[in-house]
C-alpha cells in the first residue's frame, strides 16, 4: 500500500505512463479520485482521456505505473465496476435487442455458463424503464437512434450495480432530451454515494455536470474540485494556444461567472 494512495479512494493512479508504438500518450499520471464524486476528465483531442479511462480498466497495457481500485488491483475489484464504452466502439448491426444488450450487464453476477433468466430480464427491463426507453426493449439495436443507443448503454451500466462507473463520452452526439436524462441519472448515482468517472468534451457544461475535474493533456494539468480547478489558467495550460478553443473557454468561464 502506498501512503499517498490510501484505499478509501475509489480510483488511485500511481506513476502511470502509457505508450502506443513507443510514442507516449499518457505521461507520469498521478491521481486520486475521491469517493462519491461526479468526476470529469477534460482535455483536447488526443490528450489521452479515453486512454486513461481504459488504463484504469486494464483494457490497454501500461508501460509503467499502477492503478488501484479501493486500494486493490483491478482484477480483484471487477464486481465494483461498471463501464460505458464509447458508442462507436460496438457494431450496432449486431443481431441483438436492446433488452439483450442491457442484460449483458448482469453477466458478471451470473458467472460462466449460466443463461440469462427471468430475473435478469426483469432487471434489464427496469433499467430500460429508468432511462426512459422501456417501450423499446425488443427493438433490434440498429433501429434505435443515437441517443437511444446511448441510453441502452447506460441502462446496461445500471444493471451492473457497481460502486464506480467509468463512462467514455456518454454525452457525445446525443439529443438534448437524452443529455438531460443522462445527467439526471448521474446525479441519482451521485446521491446514492456512487463514484462516476466520465470522459467529457464539452467545456460549456463541465462546471454544471461535474463536482471534480481532471484536466488532462498527456500529463495531469490539474485535478481537484471543480471550483478550484476550472479556471482560465488551468484551461490555457490544458488546451494550449488553440485560439478557437480559447474563445470557447472564455464563453464557458463567462457562464460560471469566473
Amino acid at each position: 500500500m502506498r501512503p499517498e494512495h490510501p484505499p478509501e479512494f475509489p480510483v488511485s493512479v500511481h506513476d502511470l505512463t502509457v505508450a502506443y508504438h513507443r510514442k507516449p500518450v499518457l505521461w507520469d499520471i498521478d491521481l486520486n479520485i475521491p469517493q462519491g464524486t461526479l468526476s470529469g476528465i477534460v482535455g483536447p483531442n488526443g490528450a489521452g482521456k479515453s486512454t486513461l479511462l481504459k488504463s484504469c480498466l486494464n483494457l490497454i497495457p501500461k508501460t509503467s505505473g499502477e492503478i488501484l481500485i479501493y486500494g486493490k488491483p483491478y482484477e480483484h475489484q471487477r464486481d465494483l465496476i461498471a463501464y460505458v464504452p464509447q458508442r462507436e466502439s460496438v457494431d450496432w448491426d449486431f443481431p441483438v435487442s436492446a433488452l439483450d444488450v442491457v442484460a449483458m450487464g448482469t453477466y458478471r453476477k451470473l458467472g460462466w455458463f449460466k443463461r440469462v433468466g427471468k430475473s435478469q430480464k426483469k432487471q434489464a427491463h427496469e433499467a430500460l424503464e429508468k432511462v426512459g426507453i422501456g417501450h423499446l426493449a425488443h427493438r433490434q439495436i440498429s433501429q434505435l437512434s443515437g441517443g437511444q443507443q446511448q441510453r441502452v448503454f447506460l441502462a446496461r451500466a445500471l444493471v451492473q450495480d457497481a460502486e464506480i462507473y467509468f463512462m467514455d463520452e456518454p454525452f457525445a452526439a446525443v439529443d438534448a432530451a437524452t443529455e438531460q436524462a443522462i445527467i439526471e441519472l448521474l446525479q441519482d448515482l451521485n446521491k446514492r454515494g456512487k463514484t462516476v468517472l466520465c470522459v467529457h468534451h464539452d467545456l460549456a457544461t463541465v462546471s454544471r455536470y461535474f463536482d471534480h475535474l481532471v484536466l488532462l493533456n498527456m500529463r495531469i494539468v490539474a485535478s481537484g474540485p471543480t471550483q478550484e480547478t476550472f479556471n482560465r489558467d488551468n484551461l490555457q495550460k490544458t488546451y494550449g494556444g488553440k485560439l478557437q478553443l480559447l474563445d470557447d473557454i472564455a464563453e464557458a468561464l463567462k457562464n460560471v461567472g469566473r
Binding site: H21, K54, L57, N58, L59, E75, R78, I81, Y83, P85, S89, V90, D91, D93, F94, P95, V96, S97, D100, V101, M104, Y107, R108, L110, W112, F113, K114, R115, V116, G132, I133, H135, L136, Q140, S142, Q143, S145, G147, Q148, R151, R156, A177, T178, A181
Partner: protein
C-alpha cells in the same frame, strides 16, 4: 435418377459438414472476420504435412492435431502481425495464410513425395468416395467414416456453442465489456478459432476446403439478410446449410444430364447451391434488392417519446 445408398451417404456427409461449418461461421460473420475461415482452412495444410512427416503415418489423430494446431496458429500469427506490425487485419491474414499454405504445399511436394497425401484432394475433397469407407456405428448403422468424423466436429461445435453462447455473444459484441467483467474475450476468440480449425480439418478430407469455406460464410450471410436475432440466425444458417447440401447433390446429378455436360462434383455443386440460395434471398428476400427498388416499404415508426 436412381437413388442409392451412396446418394444417402453423400448427402449425410454433406449436411453434417455444412451445418458443422455454418454454426461457427455465424460468429465469424458477426465479428466481421468471415475470411478467417478461408485463412484457417488453407493454413492447416503445413500442419497436416508436418504431422505426417514427423509421425510417418497417416493415422487420423496425429494429423488431426497437427492440422488443428496450425489452424489456431494462423489466428495467433494474424493477431501478432496486425498488432505489432501495424498491418491491417485483412492484410495480416493474407500474409499468414498464403505463406503457411505455400509451406504446406512445398512440404507435401518435397517431403511427402509419392505418398498418398494429395494437394488437389485437400482443395476439392472426394465426397463421391466417402461411401467407400464405411464403418458400422452402434453395431447397426453402416455409415461413411467421414460422417462420423464430421459429425464429431458438429457435436463438438454444438456443445461449445451451447455452453458458451452467452460468453461468445458478449465477446463478439463488446469485447471491452467482456474484459471488464472478467470473461476473457481473447480466450473466446481462440475458442472460436479452434472450432473453425477442428471443423475445417474434420471436413476437408471428405469434402475439400472449398465447400468448408463456402459453408462457413454463405449460409450465415444469407440468414443475416433475413433476421436480426441471434438464435434465429443460427437456426436459419443451419437450414440454409442443409438445403445447400441437399440441393447441391441433387443438382450434381440432374444438371449434367439436363445440360449435356460432363459429370460435376457434389461438393462443388453444394457450394454453388449455397451461393444461389444467397442470391435468391439477396434479390427476393424481405429486405431484398427487388423490394427495395420496386416495393413500397413503410418508414420505421418515428419515436417521439424520447
Amino acid at each position: 435418377m436412381n437413388w442409392t445408398d451412396n446418394d444417402s451417404h453423400i448427402i449425410l456427409v454433406g449436411i453434417l459438414c455444412a451445418v458443422a461449418c455454418a454454426l461457427p461461421g455465424c460468429f465469424l460473420l458477426l465479428r466481421r472476420m468471415s475470411m478467417m475461415g478461408d485463412a484457417i482452412s488453407h493454413a492447416v495444410l503445413p500442419g497436416l504435412a508436418l504431422a505426417f512427416l514427423i509421425s510417418g503415418t497417416r493415422t487420423s489423430w496425429t494429423i488431426f492435431v497437427g492440422a488443428a494446431v496450425a489452424g489456431v496458429l494462423t489466428a495467433v500469427f494474424t493477431q501478432w502481425i496486425s498488432r505489432y506490425g501495424k498491418v491491417e487485419r485483412g492484410a495480416a491474414m493474407g500474409i499468414v495464410f498464403t505463406t503457411l499454405f505455400a509451406i504446406g504445399l512445398l512440404l507435401i511436394e518435397r517431403g511427402a513425395g509419392n505418398v498418398d497425401l494429395d494437394a488437389k484432394c485437400v482443395l476439392y475433397g472426394s465426397l463421391e468416395l466417402t461411401p467407400l469407407h464405411l464403418i458400422t456405428f452402434f453395431d447397426t448403422f453402416l455409415v461413411p467414416r467421414a460422417a462420423v468424423v464430421v459429425g464429431g466436429a458438429l457435436i463438438v461445435n454444438l456443445i461449445i456453442i451451447a455452453l458458451f453462447y452467452k460468453e461468445l455473444t458478449l465477446a463478439s459484441f463488446d469485447p471491452a465489456l467482456a474484459d471488464t467483467q472478467g470473461f476473457r474475450p481473447r480466450l473466446m476468440h481462440y475458442l472460436l478459432m479452434t472450432m473453425v480449425a477442428i471443423t475445417t480439418v474434420a471436413a476437408f478430407e471428405a469434402v475439400g476446403s472449398i465447400i468448408v469455406i463456402a459453408m462457413l460464410i454463405v449460409p450465415p450471410a444469407t440468414a443475416f439478410l433475413i433476421t436480426k436475432r441471434l438464435p434465429i440466425l443460427l437456426a436459419l444458417s443451419t437450414i440454409f446449410a442443409m438445403s445447400a447440401a441437399v440441393l447441391g447433390h441433387l443438382s450434381s446429378h440432374a444438371l449434367p444430364t439436363l445440360l449435356g455436360i460432363p459429370e460435376t462434383t457434389s461438393s462443388g455443386m453444394m457450394a454453388t447451391a449455397a451461393g444461389i440460395i444467397f442470391l435468391m434471398f439477396w434479390l427476393g428476400g424481405p429486405e431484398g434488392l427487388i423490394r427495395q427498388r420496386f416495393g413500397k416499404r413503410p418508414l420505421l415508426q418515428p419515436d417521439f417519446k424520447s
